[in-house]
């Protein structure tokens, strides 16, 4: 059975290691915060200018002057810090953030990512996505393996406008966990009950399968 959004987030949470500074994008990546294992200390960066993002506030603690990059009201934690947008992107561009987790519309087998624009549709803007993908030390993408019409989103080459080149390291989809290598998408794990053949069919780019592929453990 394919993984749902929460299960994708839960699997990605396994990649988060103690002591990391992590930037979470909007959508499934935001859910990752709910599954970070106990005993693992991470600091969440919100690119509008906060390190140490806490949970949503209780009603009486809502503060219009404290939001995350998705414009949601949030809280700080003991040890949090607040800074300007230029300091924030200095952290990102200067490769001080250890891990970036974000969504994508397409990923190519070379690790190119497209996630900001669909030609002919309203352009909302790239926000911080281009800065993040150009400088992150490690990028994990959370996405559906195929589009609604069944076409693959893991491609030889992206068809949509690019957000960044050769930057994605790992992809967790509803069907599989894959690593981007010099030779293509290397299959690491498959969703419970999903066969290698299913994944092959859903992957347009080069898929590398070596040995037995274990199921995702959640």
């Amino acid at each position: 059975m394919a993984l749902d959004k929460n299960q994708i987030a839960k699997r990605i949470a396994q990649e988060v290691k103690n002591g990391m500074y992590v930037n979470l994008g909007i959508g499934i990546p935001t859910l990752v915060a709910n599954y970070i294992p106990h005993g693992i200390e991470v600091v969440l960066q919100s690119e509008n200018g906060l390190l140490g993002m806490g949970p949503f506030p209780t009603e009486d603690k809502v503060d219009a002057d404290l939001i995350n990059a998705g414009k949601q009201t949030i809280t700080t934690l003991p040890g949090s810090s607040i800074f300007s947008s230029s300091d924030s992107f200095g952290m990102i561009r200067g490769e001080h953030v250890d891990l970036t987790i974000l969504g994508a519309m397409e990923v190519s087998e070379e690790g190119d990512i497209a996630n900001w624009k669909i030609p002919g549709k309203m352009v909302k803007g790239m926000g911080g996505a281009m800065d993040l993908v150009a400088s992150a030390k490690n990028i994990i993408v959370a996405m559906q393996h195929t589009a609604r019409d069944g076409s693959s989103k893991l491609l030889k080459e992206c068809t949509l406008p690019i957000t960044g080149l050769k930057c994605v390291k790992k992809i967790v989809t509803d069907l599989a966990v894959l690593e981007v290598t010099d030779k293509g998408f290397k299959l690491l794990e498959r969703a419970p009950g999903v066969t290698v053949e299913d994944i092959q069919k859903a992957t347009e780019g080069t898929l590398i399968v070596e040995g037995d592929i274990p199921e995702v453990q959640l």
Binding site: S46, E47, N48, G49, L50, P55, F56, P57, T58, E59, D60, V62, D63, A64, D65, L66, I67, N68, A69, G70, K71, Q72, T73, I74, I82, F83, S84, S85, S86, S88, F89, I92, R93, D112, M122, V123, K124, G125, M126, G127, G128, A129, M130, D131, A134, S135, P161, I162, T163, G164, L165
Partner: protein
Amino acid sequence: MINKTVKNVQEALQGVQDGMTLMLGGFGLCGIPENCIQELLRIGVKDLTCISNNAGVDDFGIGLLLQKRQVKKMIASYVGENAEFERQLLSGELEVELNPQGTLAERIRAGGAGIPAFFTPAGYGTEVGEGKESREFNGKMYLMESWLKADFSFVKAWKGDTAGNLIYKGTARNFNPMMATAGKITVAEVEELVPAGELDPNMIHTPGIFVQRIFQGEKYEKRIEQRTVRQA
């Protein structure tokens, strides 16, 4: 100490004219200069180039200036959540230049710091890089981006003093500190204006040299875009 205080928002915006380039602080609706935006609406200046991370929502922030067709060009990083913006963009009434957010922040910082251009990896290999000089440093490709400056910068701070020193609160800081440095005339509106000497010099975020005019805003709505809460 030089006194930067002006009586009110009307005096603060004196000299703002059609066709000017303005910077407006804020991220979403957080930390926007609400009182200055209201005054821009009232005086009705038009053909403005507005530099701001976002374009407000339909009925608040820069969205209000768009409703009245006062904006000719928008330089921003993310402009969703605004139907009127979309309509004007698709009909060609509005010109838009989208920048990666970190590039936008740094262009403004560079403008205030006297750095005409810099190299960043953001946008290399994308349409953002079209027509721009690129160069390799240590095996990685970078794009040259240029500074941004404004005729007027409008920033919002939590506290300020009569010398123009500013302290921001929470994530309402965002683009305000850089914009304060990049305006020919920087107007700061604050929630609380105090006499010089009352703010601890160690706690100042924006030194008064960058601020030409300061006033206490009459009222702040501080609208929230996404009110997210958890159960107590």
